[in-house]
């Protein structure tokens, strides 16, 4: 098992270099000149040239990429073109906020979506199933940022039950951390809850009519055991796929909700970096995303092995 994990982690290293090459190439293709933006509108040609020299933009493409890779090897992602802050520092400040938001949303997806999917899937055609299906259709149609704004208007400004912004670090106060995160995390989780409910509903429907479920019932097992042990373990394979994809979706969706709720997480950092053409920061964020997505894929694959003995054998 640890051998598999080790090999997979080693494989992400060449992946990171490949992605860094693509990000670097894309940055080269983007029109415009960061030096002009930094220097401001009234800057002289000499001033712009000076900034270019400082940023290293005048060097050949190869030298610039070499510098990027050299930094990467040492764990150095460079310095922001604007704030002069180290990219790694900027990421480490922003990351806990985004992880808190996406993590809490993922928790909502799991604790709400799975019971809903189980209820609908074990009673197909029932009133409950039809209500959940209808609500799910609404959930798909409503984008997270729109729900976020709606929640702010109703529960934040209208009823005044929840704060409408300001991130409180977990270390400072876990309860206030949660209190401030509930609205954005709920808005972010909605689409995922719907996706998980629908997926689990259909895979549970299939599993409940399988021969092995009939066997489990014939053995006199309790209905609870039949559903939660025999049917769910088989129905969980597509569920895990969806959850793995949700990690990516939640991280992407966090960008919009961080802006709506005024959190300065990775998403907000990314938006600012793109607007300012702050290439080192963009590179850092993309590479960080690669690491996070690779890790979630690894977890999904490990879960497959646990759920499906045939996969493990290979």
């Amino acid at each position: 098992m640890s051998k598999v994990i080790g090999r997979r982690l080693l494989l992400t290293i060449p992946l990171l270099f490949f992605v860094s090459l693509i990000v670097f190439a894309l940055a080269q293709l983007v029109p415009g000149d960061p030096a002009v933006t930094i220097a401001g509108e009234q800057a002289t040609a000499a001033r712009i040239e000076e900034i270019r020299e400082k940023l290293g933009i005048n060097d050949s493409t190869l030298v610039q990429y070499g510098r990027l890779v050299g930094g990467l090897v040492q764990g150095d992602l460079g310095t922001s073109l604007y704030s002069e802050q180290k990219v790694t520092d900027a990421l480490f400040t922003a990351l806990p906020i985004t992880l808190s938001l996406a993590g809490l949303a993922l928790l909502f997806v799991i604790v709400v979506g799975i019971p809903f999917g189980l209820l609908a899937g074990t009673r197909p055609g029932s009133l409950l199933d039809r209500i959940l299906t209808a609500v799910a259709a609404l959930g798909v149609a409503a984008p997270g940022y729109w729900v976020g704004i709606l929640l702010i208007i109703v529960f934040g400004l209208g009823l005044g039950w929840f704060p409408t912004g300001l991130y409180v670090p977990f270390g400072e106060s876990p309860t206030r951390w949660l209190y401030h995160l509930i609205l954005p995390a709920f808005a972010l989780s909605l689409a995922g809850i719907v996706e998980v409910t629908r997926q689990l509903r259909s895979s549970m429907r299939d599993a409940m009519t399988a021969d092995y479920v009939r066997t489990a019932r014939a053995k006199g097992l309790r209905q609870r055991t039949v559903v939660l042990k025999h049917a769910l373990k088989n129905a969980a394979v597509p569920l895990v796929t969806v959850l793995g994809l949700q990690v990516n979706v939640l991280l992407g969706g966090a960008i919009a909700l961080e802006l709506v709720f005024g959190f300065s997480g990775v998403g907000a950092l990314a938006v600012r970096a793109v607007q300012n053409r702050d290439i080192p920061v963009i590179q850092g964020i993309v590479l960080l995303s690669v690491v996070v997505v690779s890790l979630s894929n690894l977890l999904v694959d490990l879960a497959y092995g646990w759920l499906n003995p045939k996969v493990r054998a290979q």
């Binding site: 092995y212 009939r214 066997t215 053995k219 097992l221 373990k233 088989n234 003995p309």
Partner: protein
């Protein structure tokens, strides 16, 4: 007063919901199974034999299925309408099932040892460790080599015949009074079939259980059963002790089934078959349900409900012409 038979099924009706309302797939089926006895339930696909047996312990999917009437008594206790929690205690512990498809009837996500052990834990209240020991013991008893190691393996690591052995080990692990074997050998190679049938017979002798053997294969019936019930279109057509049925069949359908059995030896020639196919529940003919395929059909076969009549000791037939016909059995 004499002890009630182990299983007494009386006038069992089972319906399935369709687009045109309820359709009756099992119609007033009655039979009894005595202690230690093996009953054969014979019929073509669609005759209602599997549904009948699954309805006994409410294993048919409900909905779309429903038990519309009748009674199923196990040692005098009524199973129809029994609360779900109570019925769970009967399933596996008193009435166990073996299904036709060994490939899909075991859960692919759990080891075979666990699948046996969880049942023993449930019904016998054994500890995890003791239940595992029992699982290995059962696997060993059904002739699986290296039982202790094999118990840790998953169903996909077993062949079809071995999986059916696992199913048998599981079914008898709680020493049920009644084993319902639904075409347990149909999906297996011919060479493996005999082994599995022998194993079932040995297990039955060891544990003294009764067996209901569902099959379309009269050869299997001859090998295993004491008593036979022939089903057609959801109705009992004939019921007889095994020798009676083979040598003195009292229903044209039974005769057809017997003639359709492949013969070896001087008589072997073209295989006989019954023309036509089993009726669908939605368009059953009036009168005797077998009349469209019956070579002896006359006008009165096409009207009214045909009664099941006694033609000998323990021998009943649902044919109006039974006394006039001279039906041929096996010789």
């Amino acid at each position: 007063m004499s002890e009630p038979p182990l299983l007494e099924v009386t006038d069992l009706d089972v319906d399935f919901a369709t687009d045109h309302g309820w359709e009756r797939v099992v119609n007033h089926v009655s039979f009894t199974v005595d202690r230690g006895e093996t009953l054969g339930l014979v019929g073509e696909s669609g005759s209602g034999k599997s549904v009948t047996c699954m309805a006994l312990t409410a294993l048919i999917p409900m909905p779309p299925g429903r038990v519309a009437g009748g009674s199923v008594r196990l040692e005098g206790r009524e199973l129809i309408g029994m609360p779900a929690a109570e019925l769970e205690q009967v399933r596996g512990a008193e009435v166990a099932n073996i299904f036709q498809e060994p490939m899909t009837s075991l859960n692919p996500a759990f080891t075979v040892g666990e699948q046996i052990a969880e049942m023993v834990r449930r019904h016998k209240g054994l500890s995890r460790r003791a239940a595992r020991g029992r699982a290995v013991e059962m696997l060993d008893r059904v002739g699986i080599p290296n039982a202790s190691r094999r118990a840790e393996e998953y169903p996909h690591q077993f062949s079809g015949g071995m999986r059916q052995r696992v199913m048998i080990a599981m079914a008898v692990s709680c020493e049920p009074k009644l084993l319902i074997a639904d075409e347990p050998t149909t999906a297996l190679d011919v060479t493996i079939q005999a082994q599995v049938l022998d194993l079932l017979r040995d297990m039955q002798a060891e544990l003294g259980m009764s067996v209901v053997f569902i099959t379309h294969d009269l050869g299997v019936v001859a090998h295993s059963c004491d008593h036979v019930v022939v089903l057609y279109g959801g109705r009992v057509m004939e019921e007889a002790p095994i020798d009676e049925l083979y040598f003195r069949p009292a229903h044209p359908y039974t005769e057809g089934l017997l003639t359709a059995m492949p013969q070896i030896g001087p008589r072997a020639g073209r295989l006989a078959s019954i023309p036509g196919s089993t009726p669908v529940p939605s368009s059953l003919p009036a009168g005797c349900v077998f009349n469209p395929r019956c070579p002896y059909v006359v006008e009165r076969c096409r009207e009214g409900e045909i009664p099941l009549v006694e033609v000998g000791p323990g021998h009943r037939s649902r044919c109006v012409r039974v006394s006039e016909l001279n039906l041929v059995g096996t010789s």
